[in-house]
C-alpha cells in the first residue's frame, strides 16, 4: 500500500497532463505528425528520468523538487503531444480541402448486395410475381382479370402474369446483383445541404426497378411541393381523360385549348 504523502504528490502529474491536453485543444493549426511524436518521446523520457531520479535523490530536497518539476513538465508535454497526435490521425481520414466543391470520380467494388432469400425484403413487383408463380396458369389469368381495367396493362399485371420467370427461393441471385465494379460520381458535401436528401421521384423509380436505397430519406419543402404538384397534375390528367372519354366531349377540349391563345382573345 502506498503512503498517503506519495499519493498527494502524484496529484500534480495528472493535473499537468490535463493542462497539456487543454493547451493542445487551443491550437488553431496542427503541427506535423513527426513533431508530436518527438515531443511525446521527450516527455516519456522526462517522466522516466523523474521516476528513476526520485528514488536515487530521496535525501536531497532541492534535487527532489527539481526532478518533480521535470516530471510535471514532461506530463504536460505528454498530454499536449498525445492529444495532438490523435487529432492528426483523426484528420488524416478526411479529403483534402482543395477538393471542396469539385466533382471527383471514385472507383470501387461493391462487395455484397442484399440477396433474395426466404426472409429478404423483395420489391412489390417481385413479391407479386413470386405469389403468382405458385399458382396455376388459370389462377394467374384470374388474378390479372381481377385487377382494375386501367391497371391490366401495368407492371402489377405483368408481374402477376410472369410469375414463373422469377427464380425460386434459395436460387442463386441474378447476375445483375453479383459483385461488380462501378464508377461513381461523388460531390463533396456542402454546408446547408442534407447529405441524404432523396427525392421521392428517385425513390419511386428505384422501388419500381427493384433496387433498395439506403440512407435517411427526408422530405424537404421543395420535394414535398414537387410531390403534391405531381399528384395534382395526375388527378387533373385523369379527370381530363374521363371527360374526354364521354361522348361528344373529345373535340371540345381541343377547341377550348385553342380558344385560350392570344389571337383568339383579340
Amino acid at each position: 500500500m502506498a503512503a498517503p504523502g506519495i499519493g498527494g504528490r502524484l496529484v500534480a502529474l495528472p493535473l499537468a497532463w490535463l493542462a497539456g491536453v487543454a493547451l493542445q485543444l487551443q491550437q488553431s493549426e496542427l503541427w506535423l505528425l513527426d513533431a508530436y511524436v518527438l515531443v511525446l518521446a521527450s516527455a516519456a523520457l522526462a517522466v522516466e528520468v523523474t521516476v528513476l531520479a526520485t528514488r536515487a535523490l530521496a535525501a536531497r530536497a532541492f534535487a527532489r523538487r527539481a526532478v518533480a518539476l521535470v516530471g510535471v513538465v514532461g506530463a504536460l508535454a505528454a498530454g499536449f503531444a498525445a492529444s495532438g497526435w490523435q487529432a492528426k490521425l483523426r484528420l488524416a481520414d478526411s479529403l483534402p480541402s482543395a477538393l471542396e466543391g469539385q466533382d471527383i470520380v471514385v472507383t470501387g467494388v461493391v462487395a455484397s448486395l442484399p440477396q433474395q432469400g426466404e426472409r429478404a425484403a423483395l420489391p412489390l413487383r417481385d413479391r407479386r410475381r413470386r405469389r403468382a408463380g405458385r399458382r396455376s396458369a388459370a389462377a394467374r389469368a384470374r388474378l390479372v382479370r381481377r385487377l382494375p381495367r386501367r391497371r391490366r396493362a401495368g407492371p402489377a399485371a405483368r408481374g402477376a402474369a410472369r410469375g414463373p420467370a422469377l427464380a425460386p427461393h434459395g436460387a442463386p441471385a441474378p447476375a445483375a446483383r453479383q459483385p461488380a465494379r462501378l464508377r461513381l460520381r461523388a460531390r463533396a458535401a456542402r454546408a446547408g445541404r442534407s447529405r441524404h436528401r432523396l427525392r421521392p421521384r428517385r425513390a419511386g423509380d428505384a422501388a419500381r426497378h427493384g433496387r433498395r436505397l439506403s440512407g435517411r430519406a427526408t422530405a424537404p419543402a421543395r420535394a414535398r411541393r414537387d410531390l403534391f404538384a405531381r399528384r395534382r397534375s395526375s388527378r387533373r390528367r385523369r379527370a381530363r381523360g374521363a371527360r374526354d372519354r364521354r361522348p361528344g366531349r373529345g373535340s371540345s377540349a381541343t377547341t377550348g385549348t385553342c380558344s385560350a391563345t392570344p389571337e383568339s382573345r383579340i
Binding site: 498527494g8 502524484l10 495528472p14 497532463w17 490535463l18 493542445q24 485543444l25 492529444s83
Partner: protein, 161 residues
Amino acid sequence: MSISGLHVTVFAWLAGLAVGAAWRLSMRAMLRLPAPTAAQAGGLIAATAYAFFAGWGVPSRRTIWMLATVTLLRVAGLRWPWALVLLVAAFVVTLFDPWALTQPGFWLSFMAVGLLMASSTATTALSDAATDVTTGWRSWPARFVAASRGGLRTQVIATPA
C-alpha cells in the same frame, strides 16, 4: 432512450452484487479469488457489455473508464486519496478521448463525483458511529436513518452540480 453514466454505474453496482452473491455460493471459487474482487470485476465486465449494447456513447465510455480505473486500483490494493483517483480517471478518459474536455458533461460529472467524494469521508464516520451503537435488528432504524441521510446528502450535492 438516453443511457447516461448513472445508468451504467447502477447497472455495474447491481451486477457486482449479483456476481458477489453467486461467488459466495462456491467455496472453491472463493479460495481461488476473493468474492469482493470477483464482484468488482464482474460488475465492470457487465457494465462494459451494457455500454456496448447502449451504443458506446461518450458518457457511457467515460463511465467505463472511470469504473475500470477505480476497479484496478481496488484490485491492486491501492488506497489513493480521492482527488488522485478522480484525476487518474480524468487522465484515462482524456487519454482515449482528448475532446472530452470541451464537453460540459465532462466537467459537470467530475465536479459532482468530486463533491460526493469530498463530502463522503465525514458523513461515513458519522453513520458508522450511529450504527455501531446497537447490533442486530435494533440497529435497523439507525441504519435506515443513516441510509436516508446519505441519499439526501447525495441528492443535495448532485442537484446543483
